[in-house]
């Protein structure tokens, strides 16, 4: 799923516009798999899988694979529809310098949920 985020985000002109002032690198952590995503002017320009020795990033979102998979379902189960729902139930941690994340919350929520679109398309094709 994570490898598809860049393509899905960059193909969504409205989403790229929403993130036009975003210039940061953030990290998604799935179990012990670390991935850094570089964002420039709303486009995901680089996706770098870990492991890393000295990763340089602003913030990271960390959850188990099971949680991410539920979050990325086209219609996630109750309690898995939003990153804040997962933070509330302590199934996800959002850590680091949260300013880019909070200042661009609509953007990052849609970036993180982008694989849902893909899952929905795949489900329809089956």
């Amino acid at each position: 799923m994570i490898d598809r985020i860049a393509g899905l985000v960059n193909a969504d002109a409205r989403l790229v516009h929403r993130g036009r002032f975003v210039d940061t690198t953030f990290m998604i952590v799935i179990d012990d798999d670390y991935t850094m995503l570089r964002v420039q002017q709303g486009r995901v320009t680089k996706v770098t899988p870990g492991p890393f020795i000295t990763p340089d990033y602003s913030f990271r979102l960390r959850a188990s694979r099971d949680v991410w998979e539920k979050f990325w379902q086209p219609l996630p189960p109750r309690g898995f529809t939003d990153v804040f729902a997962l933070v509330k139930t302590k199934l996800m941690q959002i850590e680091g310098d949260l300013h880019p994340f909070m200042a661009n919350l609509f953007y990052f929520k849609d970036v993180l949920a982008a694989p849902r679109k893909n899952a929905a398309t795949e489900q329809a094709a089956r």
Binding site: R78, T81, A103
Partner: protein, 282 residues
């Protein structure tokens, strides 16, 4: 062609609240049993637009909603710039009592959502004889903050966007796009620090009513609870806990979230009508 006006009328009510003169924006529609509606934190009366435009409701209920001081078209009191807005339980109760009295409402039904759903529990505990019935939407007796609330009001983050961004996940994922985005627009328009100020009541010991639930007497004042299945702030489980402690009937609203009346008014009214019918029969 004559203009097509909705049946909602909006006026400004002048009254003293909490020791200061206020100019409160009040909307209403319909005739019959007064139904006083309380909006959510950081929002305003527009959330009840769908309800006020539904003749199934307004045929027998006089639906009234007011923008809380600092919210919507109710400006803060003079001198607001010298203070930080903070809603407390005693103030919230007093505002509701004073507005109901100023409007000369005879034992109204009060329906509130989220912070409004919380305060109806306080009304049920403190003032059961003053109301015909109470309806708690997304009623939880307590909610712990699960993110740092200071993000909601700081100069280097757009307040409207962060407030709406935070609550966006509370809208049901199945809500119609129009309802979802109108609900979010209301949050985007809130004044600086108002949502955060409301959450003081919602997330601290000030508004915590867990230890009083057992003393709420629903025979004295019937209480009805309705919660959207996707609400992760005031959860279904929290509502069922209130129902168990008070004996109030509880309904889980499928396909709805934290803002049932504005995210999907049509679906919400479907759940509300049986409750209004029961109240009419009291």
């Amino acid at each position: 062609m004559s203009p097509h006006f909705e049946h909602i009328t909006g006026r400004y009510l002048q009254l003293n609240l909490l020791g200061k003169p206020h100019r409160l924006y009040v909307e209403e529609a319909g005739h019959g049993i007064p139904l006083l509606c309380l909006h959510t934190a950081g929002a305003d009366t527009r959330q009840y637009r769908g309800l006020m435009n539904d003749e199934r409701v307004t045929a027998t209920y006089r639906v009234i909603a007011f923008d809380m001081p600092w919210h919507g078209k109710s400006s803060p009191p003079a001198g607001w710039q010298e203070q930080e807005y903070q809603l407390t339980a005693p103030d919230y109760v007093q505002v509701i009592l004073d507005v109901a009295a100023a409007l000369e409402l005879d034992r109204p039904v009060v329906m509130g959502c989220s912070i409004g759903g919380r305060i109806v529990l306080h009304l049920a505990y403190q003032h059961p004889t003053r109301f015909r019935a109470l309806i708690g939407l997304e009623s939880a007796p307590y909610a712990e903050a699960y993110y740092d609330l200071s993000w909601l009001n700081r100069p280097d983050v757009h307040g409207g966007m962060v407030c709406a961004g935070v609550i966006s996940g509370l809208v049901s994922p199945t809500a119609p796009e129009h309802g979802r985005w109108e609900t979010l627009w209301h949050y985007m328009q809130s004044g600086p620090g108002v949502f955060k100020g409301d959450l003081y009541f919602y997330t601290t010991a000030d508004g915590d009513i867990r230890d009083k639930l057992g003393q709420i007497d629903v025979k004295q004042c019937p209480l009805f609870l309705l919660t959207g299945e996707y609400d992760y702030s005031c959860t279904v489980e929290a509502m069922l806990g209130v129902a168990e402690r008070t004996g109030a009937p509880a309904t889980v609203m499928q396909g709805l979230g934290h803002f049932p009346m504005s995210e999907d008014p049509e679906k919400f009214v479907g759940y509300l009508l049986p409750v209004l019918e029961k109240i009419r029969a009291l």
